[in-house]
């Protein structure tokens, strides 16, 4: 059995767990705990170690999705989770500019872990307050060669599109290396 691994990362409450839940064939193995900090009480629970989702491609190939904890104090998990990844998705909450700096920082950290392809998912594009992907690209200083994709993490089709685009990016990288 061959396995490949993708990492879903991003700031606190960006929608990483929802992203994995939308596409995983198994109930996501989640390590959520109730939020203890008042400042972070924008949702009831948060991931503290990782989220784990699985997609069986065929008899020989399984894709694992690992979601990282968004809170900075759990960042010791990031490097462990990034070990051996095929690529990574940075999920950004398009409605919360206060998280953009953190998103940028996380992106740079993961780029430092491994020179694998990545895409940025501009989540919550269905909400009125969402910044457009074009504005987000400028705000996050994302290179024009990096894919920045509109996304709604609760929508399976939307998540599938993001993963497909990451796979195309991996393929392009392989073409360049050959």
């Amino acid at each position: 059995m061959q396995t490949v691994k993708m990492v879903v990362t991003g700031p606190f409450a960006a929608g990483k767990t929802e992203f994995i839940r939308a596409i995983s064939e198994i109930d996501v193995v989640s390590t959520e705990r109730k939020i203890s900090s008042e400042a972070e009480r924008i949702k009831d629970a948060t991931t503290v170690a990782m989220d784990f989702g699985r997609i069986t491609v065929d008899q020989d190939l399984v894709l694992y999705l690992f979601g990282t904890p968004g809170q900075k104090r759990f960042d010791f998990m990031w490097e462990i989770l990034s070990e051996g990844m095929l690529g990574f998705v940075v999920v950004v909450d398009s409605t919360r500019p206060e998280t953009f700096r953190e998103a940028r920082s996380i992106l740079e950290t993961f780029r430092g872990y491994a020179a694998t392809p990545y895409v940025v998912a501009a989540n919550k594009q269905d909400q009125e307050d969402a910044w457009t992907p074009e504005d987000l690209r400028i705000a996050l200083k994302i290179d024009s060669r990096v894919k920045l994709l509109p996304c709604v993490a609760q929508d399976k089709e939307s998540v599938k599109n993001v993963l497909l685009e990451l796979l195309y990016a991996v393929l392009e990288r392989l073409d360049e290396q050959e």
């Binding site: 061959q2 490949v4 997609i55 491609v57 065929d58 190939l61 894709l63 960042d75 490097e79 990034s82 070990e83 051996g84 990844m85 095929l86 500019p97 206060e98 998280t99 953009f100 700096r101 950290t109 430092g112 872990y113 491994a114 020179a115 694998t116 009125e128 307050d129 969402a130 910044w131 457009t132 074009e134 504005d135 400028i138 705000a139 599938k160 993963l163 497909l164 796979l167 195309y168 991996v170 393929l171 392989l174």
Partner: protein, 274 residues
Amino acid sequence: MALKGNLRDFSTTQLLNLINLARKTGTLTITSRGNAAQICFKEGKLIYAVLGGQDGHLADMLHKTGKLTEEQARTVREHSANQTDKVLGQMLINAGHVTQNDVVQAVRVHILDIVYRMFSWAEGDFRFEPTLAPAQDRIVVPVDLENVIMEGSRRLKEFERLQDELPNLDIALRFTDRPDTRLRNISLSVEEWRVVSFINPRNSIRQIAQFNNMSDFQIRKIVYGMLQAGLVELVRPEGVAPPAPKPRVGAAAATAPAVKRSQVTRLIEFFTRR
């Protein structure tokens, strides 16, 4: 879609850069500590700005740039209560008081003065509204944002440097031991003399700024100059050690896995048909 947030998270510099690069048209409204500013753009160019509490009368703009005396500005204001800026500008040009270039320059200086102030606003809610344009009666002057961003950043750096040099405005000033000798040999501007007249260990720097209706930046600049010239000294409170910078955890670069093309192709096929 909305472009809104807080300057705490997305600074004025970043906002202007975004508006410039995305060639946006509309009005950016920023509210901070009771102040409100509206900055208007057309296709990525700055065209107009207004700061809450200032009506931005053309006569005042021309006075500020030295094209009208205070007396002339007051007379113009009194006799043009119902005139739009455009009509008033045309009247002043026709009467030979100013040239068209004088008007354009005065509006430009006024707009830039407001925008440069925005650079020092560390926090405040902002909202960009693409449908909102300046009032029809206002004179608009297109200004390229690249230079504005460069100059604003330079001023911000100066502001930050002054803030570093003089972080606490709640301390007082006193003249050094022999101030008379030094003051006699130095030429002070009107603003500096206004500050000098309030120097007293009982007045904090912030109070002196308030008495003289000066911004934090202006008072810092003047006090810093006086400190450097040795004219005054700070009556310092107990020093507090600056917080130690957070150590950055270094990230060891892991090696990327050997990826098999067949795996990626199978995954793509899987998602495409699913």
